[in-house]
């Protein structure tokens, strides 16, 4: 009897400790985000950063968002990013699926060498070639265009075939053999049999490739100089980094913009979280 109570007490204490630890860590993780959200909705004469933990002026409102959409061309940047993200995500996904299918399901002589070459190519830091990429685009007369961004974001998609191939590797061969016996050719097997099974990995690929243009500002910065053609990331980055006082002038508006971008990403993640985790783990388990 007594043993049982001490055991449950010990369990209670350990649970309480766990809760305390989780709450502390959780606060640490949420605090900066909360601060960002608060700043986005802050209504006060100062547009800069507030350096106190408990600000005196607690008025909230949508003023920063109004400024974001009226004083800057944020809408334009949003549309640019949406276009670039949609196109590059479609291209990337198609490329990755094609490469993964070929390397996973088809047998040909150069398969292993190609896999090794792709692995090695993926090792070069992207920054190293950024300037060369810029000049290649310039030679093609493509700098300062959204098409250039789409091409750059999806051009090297083949290098990230790895997770998707790991997934294809786990699909039983028996299914396609049956189809081939029935006279199906390879494209039919690919589209009708393998792709429907690969839904989690497709969603995962779509999600990751859709999100990356929303976060990159380095490549955009090199390729695009026309302010009208910025993506949201570069627009926001420049908003507080362009001139000397831009930080104090624009910080609240910057936070409002970050809130919008974050909102879009959260919505996507929430609706597809299940697939995302499945995708990550299926790739991870396979290595």
């Amino acid at each position: 009897m007594i043993g049982k109570t001490t055991a449950s007490m010990r369990k209670g204490i350990s649970n309480a400790l766990t809760y305390a630890l989780l709450a502390t860590l959780g606060t640490l993780w949420v605090l900066p985000i909360a601060y960002l959200v608060y700043t986005a909705f802050r209504e006060s004469p100062s547009t800069g950063i507030i350096n106190t933990l408990f600000p005196a002026d607690l008025r909230l409102g949508f003023g920063n968002f109004a400024r974001l959409f009226s004083d800057t061309i944020f809408t334009r940047w949003l549309l640019n990013t949406l276009l670039v993200a949609t196109c590059s995500c479609a291209l990337t996904t198609i490329f990755i699926l094609m490469v993964s299918y070929a390397l996973s399901r088809l047998k040909f002589k150069l398969r292993k060498p190609i896999m090794n070459v792709l692995l090695v190519l993926g090792m070069f830091p992207g920054f190293m070639s950024m300037i060369a990429v810029y000049f290649i685009l310039k030679a093609m007369n493509l700098t300062n265009s959204l098409l250039a961004l789409i091409l750059v974001y999806s051009g090297s998609a083949a290098l990230s075939y790895y997770i998707c191939k790991g997934f294809f590797d786990t699909v039983p061969r028996a299914m396609e053999e049956a189809a081939i016996l029935d006279g199906a050719n390879q494209p039919t097997v690919f589209v009708k049999i393998i792709l429907p099974l690969a839904k989690p990995i497709i969603v995962y690929t779509v999600l990751t490739s859709f999100i990356s243009p929303w976060c990159d500002f380095i490549f955009v910065n090199t390729i695009i100089s026309d302010r009208e053609l910025y993506t949201v990331a570069l627009g926001l980055y420049k908003m507080i980094n362009a001139e000397k006082n831009s930080f104090n002038d624009n910080f609240t508006v910057f936070c409002a913009g970050a809130f919008v971008v974050g909102g879009i990403i959260v919505t996507l993640f929430m609706s597809m979280q299940r697939y995302y985790v499945e995708g990550v783990t299926s790739g991870a388990v396979k290595g």
């Binding site: 369990k11 649970n15 766990t18 630890l21 989780l22 993780w29 949420v30 900066p32 960002l36 950063i49 507030i50 350096n51 933990l53 990755i96 094609m98 490469v99 070929a102 088809l106 292993k112 190609i114 090794n116 692995l119 190519l121 090792m123 070069f124 830091p125 920054f127 190293m128 070639s129 300037i131 060369a132 990429v133 000049f135 290649i136 091409l151 750059v152 999806s154 051009g155 090297s156 998609a157 083949a158 786990t170 050719n185 390879q186 494209p187 929303w214 976060c215 380095i218 990331a233 507080i240 970050a258 971008v261 974050g262 990403i265 959260v266 985790v277 783990t281 991870a284 396979k286 290595g287």
Partner: protein, 467 residues
């Protein structure tokens, strides 16, 4: 798998070519010179014509465009004519003269080289095809018609249409820039030699000497290079493992039996992923700034990201701490997925043996996790070697340390190899040549690490395990 190795073909490209010359028919031998001849002679008209047109196009390209750039690549100069103004005696004015642009000469040279390589492969396929036809006829077999050839593209050769478009993208946006930048490492392309207007030229290995030697005072970067390299490794190690273990521990805490609202706890951490990295990093930078919110709250005056004492120890630690904040949500997400996959009987057995929770963690959870996630850790490690954003947005590589900067290397104390490379290419006084050498070094390190582990882990061997 075993088959693939033991069956290693004895017929290399060379053997096959010699065979085609020795034993091939007349038309096969002729297709060495005139592509497509072997095919046309055997009735494969369309295929033969395509080969022929390709050869014609290639030759025209080389004559009117390619050869001059190839000549430049191998003759040891990248343009001789400077652009500028020349006095025109007749018109009594200065005329602008467009000189050579070393950059474009090199770029077109690379394009030409790649096209030549591509052409050689097609040429080899053409000869081989003609020779195959000979062999088929000798065996009394029928030669494929054009229609049949096309049909193989949807069956045995389906990999060709699948791989071609992605690989074209790869060629233009990865391979070409890479070859180009590797070549830059052997030139003197820097601020003083920036086209248009100036020319740059081949200098052999002198950039490598600059980076790896101590000699010549301002010209030797070896000391700086070693310090940056060391910090890159220290950073990558701590960044990878702090994230991993903290993520794992939090995942375990959330997964613990009896903890309620698991989804809520997880969301609390995962929300951090939603905000783009550059936003949180800029925010953190402002919080940790000399007159930022943290100092105001603590009432202190600490330069969190700019303190130079003890080899800039404080900024380094802060970078790693901020990186924990950024990275843990990702590892948490991954670990909690994998933790659910650990077979329950492992835990059951351990519990029956009376193992303590710590013991269970050390001998069941951790080994399993490490086993499953080794490839992930390696990619993380390599990713951290190249982790540009965190360093660049937090400290910008700084604080500026005279030991580094003074010698002309432009490196700063928290610079990784990549941020150093970036600064060298975007600075007021760019040194593209040295930047390229650094890029090659980064590549060698990452490639060596990845290839070794890739071949050692089960991933490469166990492709069929789950089928």
């Amino acid at each position: 798998m075993g088959n693939e190795k033991t069956k290693k073909r004895k017929s290399g490209v060379g053997v096959e070519l010699v065979g085609a010359i020795k034993n091939g028919s007349f038309s096969t031998r002729l297709s060495f010179l005139f592509m497509g001849f072997g095919q046309m002679a055997r009735g494969q008209i369309v295929k033969g014509l395509l080969y022929f047109l390709l050869q014609a196009a290639f030759l025209l390209f080389m004559i009117f465009f390619g050869w001059q750039y190839i000549a430049h690549l191998f003759s040891g100069d990248l343009g001789t004519k400077l652009s500028g103004e020349i006095w025109n005696e007749e018109l009594q004015i200065f005329e602008k003269v467009k000189g050579d642009n070393s950059f474009l000469i090199l770029l077109y040279g690379v394009v030409t080289l790649l096209l030549i390589a591509f052409f050689l492969i097609i040429w080899w396929v053409n000869v081989k095809g003609a020779y195959e036809n000979d062999k088929k006829l000798a065996r009394g077999e029928r030669i494929n018609t054009w229609k049949e050839d096309v049909r193989t593209l949807l069956n045995e050769k389906f990999y060709l249409p699948l791989l071609t478009p992605p690989f074209l993208g790869l060629l233009v946006f990865t391979v070409m820039p890479l070859v180009f930048m590797v070549l830059i490492a052997f030139t003197n392309y820097d601020y003083a030699h920036t086209p248009p207007g100036k020319l740059f030229d081949w200098v052999g290995f002198s950039n490598f000497k600059t980076l790896f030697s101590l000699s010549g005072g301002a010209s030797g970067f070896a000391f700086v290079f070693l310090r940056v390299l060391l910090w890159t490794f220290v950073w990558a190690f701590f960044a990878t493992f702090t994230n991993y273990f903290l993520g794992l521990v939090i995942a375990l805490l959330i997964n613990k039996k009896g903890i309620k609202l698991k989804a809520l706890w997880r969301t609390l951490f995962v929300v951090a992923i939603a905000v783009p990295q550059f936003v949180t990093l800029l925010l953190m930078q402002k919080i940790l700034d000399g007159d930022g919110i943290l100092n105001k709250i603590l009432g202190t005056n600490i330069l969190w990201l700019a303190d130079q004492r003890y080899f800039s120890l404080l900024p380094r630690v802060m970078i790693i701490l901020v990186n924990i904040w950024i990275g843990v949500p990702y590892t948490l997400l991954m670990c909690s997925g994998i933790l659910l996959n650990i077979p329950a009987d492992y835990y059951e057995a351990a519990r029956i043996d009376g193992a303590s929770p710590v013991r269970i963690f050390m001998s069941v959870t951790l080994p399993y996790m490490l086993h499953v996630t080794t490839p992930y850790l390696i990619t993380q490690f390599v990713g951290n070697i190249n982790n540009f954003n965190v360093i660049w947005l937090l400290t910008g590589g700084g604080p500026v340390d005279n030991v580094y900067y003074g010698s002309g290397s432009q490196a700063q104390s928290t610079d990784l190899l990549v941020t150093w490379l970036y600064r060298l290419t975007t600075d007021q006084n760019p040194k593209y040549n040295v930047a390229s050498v650094i890029g090659i070094v980064i590549f060698v390190i990452s490639a060596a690490l990845s290839l070794i582990t890739y071949n050692k882990t089960s991933a490469a061997k166990g492709e069929d395990t789950f089928q």
